[in-house]
Symmetry: C2
Subunit: 228 residues, 2 copies
């Protein structure tokens, strides 16, 4: 399973465990601005227990093209309604395709058939590689890519348990499964200590989710930030 250390992937980990899987967690050091999420991923893994955690180093900065890996500034706004529609500059070219391909490589080496990814089509930020039709096409490709597809074996299944949930539903689901959201990080442009900026798209989506869920984000109390 892909584990960024954010709210969505941490909830996905809890769901996979609840399904009875023994997850292998894969994180990426890909030259992201918000590298602090890797520390979150490590804390999540310690808290929730996985079979193995690998942090793969890949350099997506060589290709450029994104505010998350390049020199473009992360856009900020005062409230959710100001979020720019369409694909934001934080989109990293083909990121989920690269991530899923590493997950597929590891799954094949482990002889595992189930890949979990915490993407979300409702509250997603306009990323093309978060849509159900993309995942369906990826799964079809994956089932032609592997040894098993020639020798007749396990069919690869890409699980996206969050894909039709709102951020509020994801949070309530995770809380029900005992997720400690104080361990997670969502901000695209956090301080060195992990303090969320509160103004990027990802912070806005998180705040809206907790607001709609009627729950206080434990990350706010951790950093003694006033509720929005």
């Amino acid at each position: 399973m892909l584990l960024s250390g954010g709210l969505d992937s941490t909830t996905t980990l809890a769901i996979a465990k609840d399904f009875g899987f023994s997850p292998y967690a894969l994180s990426f050091d890909y030259g992201q601005r918000h590298k602090i999420e890797l520390e979150c991923a490590k804390r999540v893994v310690l808290d929730m227990n996985v079979a193995e955690h690998v942090i793969a180093e890949i350099n997506l900065r060589v290709f450029g093209g994104s505010a998350l890996t390049g020199d473009i500034d992360v856009p900020k706004q005062q409230n959710f309604d100001e979020m720019i529609k369409g694909i934001p500059v934080t989109y990293v070219p083909a990121r989920n395709t690269v991530f899923l391909s590493f997950a597929l490589a590891w799954a094949e080496a482990l002889e595992a058939a189930n890949i979990f990814i915490g993407i979300n089509a409702l509250d997603y930020s306009g990323y093309p590689d978060c849509r159900p039709e993309y995942i369906k096409a990826y799964q079809q490709m994956a089932n032609l890519a592997t040894k098993a597809s020639v020798e007749g074996g396990l069919q690869i299944k890409i699980h996206t348990p969050l894909i039709q949930l709102s951020k509020a539903e994801i949070i309530l689901k995770g809380l029900g499964l005992g997720v400690n959201y104080a361990l997670t990080s969502s901000c695209y442009d956090p301080g060195d200590d992990g303090r969320p900026c509160g103004q990027c798209d990802s912070c806005q989506l998180r705040a809206k989710g907790f607001l709609e869920a009627g729950v206080i984000d434990p990350l706010l109390s951790k950093f003694r930030i006033k509720e929005p």
Copy 2:
């Protein structure tokens, strides 16, 4: 375009140039046993001229599962007919999927629509991710993965100009386009100086190709190896 520094990808580079493209070449340092191929890729790029050459570092050794990245020995045999049928232990789990995903990321950042890969379905060594149906599925997925697929823009096209050619046809095509095969390396288990072992699957396929093409492999004279 994906450039390993081997015979097939070097021929593919020549074909892409012949089509009128100005290629961006992408190689991978992925923990392969035959790292010498990266030196070949650099020499090929110097000889043939490309817009840019990037060597991306990715560590596929963390996943294991292959003789090319792990501790399993590369199988050797005295002649072509002894080659084991089926998928060999040199298969690297999901390798072409990982490679194509990086190519897709770079293509998207460059706003390029054409990706070249020198895979081959006839003389290929039994790898699932060298089949035409795999490439077709990859292209479908790619066209749902990118910004352009949402905003309406360039359609990604995966070019596989060698897919239906025999090794002999590839060699004759390349020679016609002026490829210097002495710069390339095909061996899975070469000496430190790049001397081919002559007995791995890849050396056997290359030798068979030159034999059927009726041409002497310039790599043999370079290393003063007697023709097979």
